[in-house]
């Protein structure tokens, strides 16, 4: 797994395929696949490198800074990471395209990040590493140039999230901002395919040249967010999108994971929706940096006001992680375009407030750490499935567990022991 950070140079045949742009890109991807097939076995065997790294991680769980170290260890050259990470020609084209704000390149890069192919995985990792380096450099020159605002929007079904994003996003686009929306759709787990219909609810925003709406299937991962969401955000930011909106469906305890990738977690509720507070788990409200009661128009204005009052009280009891911030509770109607400006004003207030007391950065740091752990677990899982010896053992043990010959506990710990003894 950690070979993702490795510096293995692309095969010569790869470097030769460097005719410009798209068609080439597609072809290159094809060839990559063929190669990946050949190299797959090799990589699978190296998967168990994990065992070694794991120990270190346990001792010292500070994520980001370790990267260069790892690569230096594995490479013989002592050049800085920047140059060590040679991208394949097609990925290089992607990076250039992203920096130029090319929609297609950004979109292809997101696909690359989402790809389940191991080869793509490596390229994606390299790409992201390069982007982080570049952004850090940019930040040193001018911090403003990497100043972005990530807003997470969650709410129970039927609270009008998409319409809210449509109205808010269109406003921002009209003000000249570049807005990227990552809309997470629930995936049909039974059959695998997803219907991604969010864009059909964001007509004006979708048509705006300043917007980038990417619906993304959740693939059944808890919290509705995919492991790739934070990477997608980074890609969008590097392509010049300063406002990132992440929209997720439903509210349960796990939905707060949207808070892990965004600067501000906005909870949407509707006045029509059932019992106040009971419908939404307390944990979600605790995480909210702001609550918007949407659909407050017509007959619902009065009821909306009542709910607003109740939530205000509840919030005072619950408090907020950022001690001196009291999450505002606002009413709005995205359909009638009422109150959206106020919501945004408060959001900006939150941003400057948290930037003022430094929590904006510390929160991002904590979130990066959480994100790291999440990815680590996810990649461990993936590595598990990709490792032939482990899967062999699993397939051996599984029927025995089924028949009740050995306990699931015993089987699992046997497998884990085997993995980490391999080294």
């Amino acid at each position: 797994m950690l070979s993702y950070f490795s510096t293995r140079k692309p095969t010569p045949s790869h470097q030769k395929t460097s005719v410009p742009l798209l068609r080439t890109f597609v072809n290159a991807t094809r060839q990559k696949e063929m190669h990946s097939k050949q190299t797959q076995r090799k990589t699978q065997n190296t998967t168990f490198n994990l065992g070694v790294k794991k120990k270190k991680v346990q001792k010292n769980p500070i994520p980001q800074q370790r990267k260069p170290k790892v690569s230096q260890k594995q490479t013989t050259t002592k050049t800085p990471t920047f140059q060590v990470l040679t991208l394949s020609p097609s990925t290089e084209i992607l990076l250039e395209g992203i920096k130029n704000g090319d929609r297609r390149m950004l979109s292809k890069a997101i696909t690359l990040v989402e790809s389940e192919l191991e080869r793509d995985h490596k390229q994606a990792t390299n790409l992201l590493t390069r982007i982080i380096e570049e952004r850090r450099e940019l930040a040193q020159i001018d911090p403003k140039s990497v100043d972005t605002f990530r807003v997470g929007i969650t709410g129970p079904p039927g609270t009008g999230k998409s319409t809210f994003v449509e109205t808010l996003g269109t406003n921002l686009c009209n003000e000249g901002h570049k807005v990227a929306v990552i809309a997470i759709d629930p995936s049909s787990r039974k059959t695998g395919g997803s219907v991604l219909g969010d864009r059909s609810r964001m007509v004006n925003l979708g048509a705006h040249e300043n917007s980038f709406i990417r619906p993304s299937p959740s693939r059944g991962i808890a919290g509705g967010l995919s492991v790739h969401t934070s990477d997608q955000i980074l890609l969008c930011e590097h392509a010049g999108y300063t406002h990132i909106i992440v929209e997720t469906v439903g509210v349960g305890q796990t939905e707060v994971s949207v808070a892990d990738v965004t600067d501000m977690f906005m909870l949407l509720i509707s006045p029509g929706g059932g019992d106040v507070l009971q419908g939404i788990k307390k944990g979600v409200v605790e995480y909210a940096d702001m609550i918007v009661i949407n659909k407050c128009d017509g007959d619902m204005i009065q009821r909306g006001k009542m709910i607003q009052y109740e939530y205000k009280n509840a919030i005072q009891l619950l408090g907020h992680q950022m001690g001196d911030w009291i999450p505002p509770v606002l009413t709005a109607s995205s359909l009638m375009k009422i109150g959206i400006q106020d919501v945004w004003k408060k959001a900006l207030e939150f941003k400057s407030h948290s930037q003022g007391n430094g929590s904006f950065e510390t929160r991002r740091a904590t979130k990066r750490k959480n994100e790291f752990w999440k990815k680590l677990y996810e990649f461990l899982k993936m590595g598990l499935h990709r490792s032939e010896p482990t899967m062999d053992l699993i397939h051996k043990l599984e029927p025995m567990v089924e028949k009740g010959i050995i306990s699931s506990r015993k089987a699992s710990s046997d497998i884990v022991n085997q993995i980490f003894q391999y080294m």
């Binding site: 068609r23 389940e116 059959t191 395919g193 997803s194 219907v195 991604l196 219909g197 864009r199 709406i213």
Partner: protein
């Protein structure tokens, strides 16, 4: 002429619920009792088989018996035409006193061309005019709006200003001919243009006769040619009723349309119930607006579809008259007799027309026209046989018109009033349909009326459910369609369809808009538009009155619509897509699994599922095709992005690029494909995304296939292609593009 069928065509295929149809039969069987003497004889003739095997359960869940007796009338007395509840006809004399109006829905390209056509048709025996407008006009856009580049003049005539309307009726005196106009979205400007065109012909407002469709409620359920959200749209209708009841007493203010509901696949009782419930909602709105029942009700007319289920269609029209009379009497106690009358126009079903072996459609239309006449319709449109293929030609329109002329002139059918009255079968069917429809009407009333019911989505769901059931009946062979699921023709001869040079029409329209705008007093025009916006804001004043002023000042359709849109906004429809339905109804699991495995295999090779964007281009609002695609493809393991309705080629291409899809699937039912698809492909090229597979389906004439392939469309699917076949070919094409084998 080319009607907006929500046709069964686009890849409808093997979709949904098979078992349920048969369950109905089982349940219904146990209740039926026959005349004992007949049963004995029948059993003998059937060699001992139970006569119950002769029962047929219709899509309405009504059991058609092999024979009817007096008992089936439950001791009800015979009725008299012209006497409450008007089942047999709202006049005492009906056709014997006045023949039905032969009113052929037509219009295409420019006002000049349509005007020529109208004059010719009137000479050839047509007795009333019915104007089909361009989709761009329907949706309130001027022809110079880039958003409608592919729509102008395609499915009807493009009207941008009052000058166009004047040309449309030049040489046709509007005090002599009644004019029906199918317009729902941009109803204010079009009605205003019509009134001003009459005015400038020297015809006073009170002399104008005819009907404006103006039935906005059904647009939200089936046809999607709305502009504003339901609430302001209802306000517009109230203003129109208020104005016209005073100033245009001979003009029908709404034509409440069940036709489009039947076209969407609904059964007759659903069509009947929703139509009547729509009518009640309009009356309620008018009364709330301060009008009297006797001002409103006599100016409402109806519009039903007539399909191939012969007996049921006749019974439907009879039940409709009775239901309406009873409900109006019971709820509003009108003083005028006219308020109880359900006067109706009918159109033969476009749904029943087939692309396969199309000459059969002439026969179908004839039978449907007969049913409409037996049902005592006041006016009738007969479809041209080639409407499932493209726009009708002069030849096919002549045949269609003559179908009615012959029925009127040669058959003696109109010589007897309600000839089916008193038939045990017909009276029994009429009763049953009335009962079934009333049940659903009550359900709608419990939801708080039609506007609220629409918001709840229930009527739409009901239509979609009955449509799915109907499709299942055809797929399983329970209902036959000759040439489609029985008696296939080996070799289909290609037939001619009318070709419209959409680009030319658009250029002519743009030139005339420019001319009108140059010659008008701009300041005056802007004042008129400002007044409309103001009225929409405050609700003070009458929107039709103000639109007439704007029409006189030479404001355009787009300008007047925009003036309202500023306040009301444009309504956006969201799709509800059922997942799992396609898989669930699949009989041949092996084929399904085979393809699903190929999709999985694709995933392991490429790193993600094949991703497809299902989209609609232009102002054609038929969304059933993309729904079926989204549902079927996602069940097979594709990721499906669903785009909004009414997109431009640029917007669709942009969405495809943003989602990085492997394929774009476009559904086209309104003849815009020849402009819109090449535009889409050139947009993709501009964005460097010409490796995206483009497929399309819908009503596309065979002779256009090559043109589309040349322009870069990869696959074209005709009506009735099975989802599985479509998905297989699409997957192969994607693999070919990506060089995966």
């Amino acid at each position: 002429m080319f009607c907006l069928h929500n046709s069964k065509s686009f890849l409808s295929s093997n979709f949904l619920v098979k078992a349920s149809t048969f369950q109905f039969i089982g349940r219904a069987l146990s209740k039926i009792k026959f005349n004992a003497q007949w049963e004995k004889l029948a059993k003998k003739e059937l060699c001992g088989k139970d006569p119950k095997s002769l029962l047929y359960v219709s899509p309405e869940n009504i059991t058609l018996k092999p024979v009817y007796f007096e008992e089936d009338r439950k001791g009800k007395k015979g009725e008299i035409p012209g006497v409450f509840p008007l089942t047999r006809g709202h006049y005492a004399t009906m056709y014997t006193g006045r023949k039905h109006t032969i009113r052929q829905y037509s219009g295409f390209s420019t006002a000049q061309e349509s005007n020529q056509l109208y004059k010719k048709n009137l000479k050839a025996g047509q007795t009333g005019l019915s104007v089909a407008f361009s989709l761009s006009t329907h949706r309130g856009y001027d022809s110079d709006n880039p958003r409608v580049a592919g729509d102008v003049g395609m499915a009807g005539v493009a009207i941008d200003t009052v000058e166009d309307m004047k040309i449309l009726f030049s040489g046709i005196p509007l005090d002599k001919h009644s004019v029906s106009m199918t317009m729902n979205g941009a109803v204010l400007p079009i009605l205003a243009f019509f009134i001003v065109a009459g005015e400038e012909q020297g015809v006073r407002q009170e002399e104008l006769r005819g009907t404006i469709q103006n039935d906005i409620l059904k647009e939200y359920m089936v046809r999607n040619t709305f502009i504003y959200p339901p609430k302001p749209s209802m306000h517009i209708i109230s203003d129109i009723m208020a104005y016209m009841s005073k100033k245009l007493p001979r003009y029908n203010t709404i034509s409440i349309s069940g036709f489009h509901i039947q076209e969407a696949g609904a059964d007759k009782s659903t069509e009947l119930a929703i139509t009547i419930a729509d009518g009640l909602e309009y009356i309620d709105a008018a009364i709330k607006h301060g009008l009297d029942i006797d001002d409103v009700a006599p100016r409402l007319s109806f519009f039903f579809g007539v399909g191939m289920d012969f007996y049921m269609e006749i019974a439907k029209l009879r039940a409709a008259r009775r239901l309406w009379a009873k409900l109006i009497q019971e709820k509003y106690h009108p003083k005028k007799r006219e308020s109880l009358m359900l006067r109706t126009h009918c159109q033969t079903s476009g749904w029943s027309l087939t692309e396969q072996d199309p000459y059969n459609n002439i026969i179908r239309t004839t039978i449907e026209a007969m049913a409409a006449m037996f049902g005592q319709t006041q006016s009738l449109h007969t479809d041209s046989f080639d409407e499932a293929i493209g726009l009708p030609t002069e030849f096919s329109s002549r045949l269609a018109r003559n179908t009615q002329v012959i029925l009127q002139e040669e058959t003696n059918i109109p010589k007897v009033i309600d000839p089916w009255g008193g038939s045990y079968l017909m009276e029994s069917l009429t009763d049953q349909l009335e009962e079934k429809a009333l049940e659903f009407i009550k359900e709608i009333e419990e939801l708080g009326g039609m506007t609220k019911a629409i918001a709840s989505g229930i009527p739409k769901l009901r239509i979609e459910a009955t449509a799915a059931r109907k499709q299942a009946r055809i797929d399983s062979g329970l209902d036959t369609i000759v040439g489609v699921n029985k008696f296939h023709l080996e070799n289909e001869e290609p037939i001619e369809a009318r070709i419209i040079d959409n680009t030319q029409v658009r250029l002519e329209q743009i030139a005339s808009i420019k001319k009108v705008k140059q010659e008008r007093n701009d300041k005056k025009a802007m004042e008129c538009l400002q007044a409309i916006t103001e009225c929409a804001k405050t609700g003070e004043g009458n929107l039709l009155d103000l639109s007439i002023h704007a029409a006189r000042a030479r404001c355009t359709v787009g300008e007047i619509s925009q003036a309202l849109e500023k306040v009301y906004g444009r309504y956006q429809l969201t799709h509800s897509i059922v997942q799992g339905a396609y898989k669930g109804s699949f009989i041949n699991k092996e084929d399904f699994d085979n393809l699903a495995n190929q999709v999985e295999d694709f995933k392991t090779k490429v790193g993600r599922r094949p991703r497809i964007l299902a989209g609609k281009l232009g102002q054609d609002g038929h969304d059933r095709g993309i729904k079926v695609i989204a549902s079927g493809f996602s069940d097979l393991g594709f990721d499906v992005d669903v785009g909004p309705l009414f997109q431009t080629p640029h917007e669709l291409a942009k969405d495809a690029v943003t989602s990085d899809v492997d394929c774009i699937g476009v559904s086209s039912l309104a003849a815009g494909h020849k402009t819109l698809l090449p535009d889409l492909i050139s947009e993709l090229k501009k964005m460097g995304a010409d490796d995206i597979v483009v497929i399309c389906g819908g009503v596309i004439p065979h002779k256009d296939y090559n043109y589309l392939y040349e322009k870069g469309v990869h696959l074209v699917f005709g009506p009735g292609t099975k989802i599985l076949k479509c998905a297989q070919r699409t997957l192969n094409k994607i693999k070919e593009m990506k060089k995966i084998y």
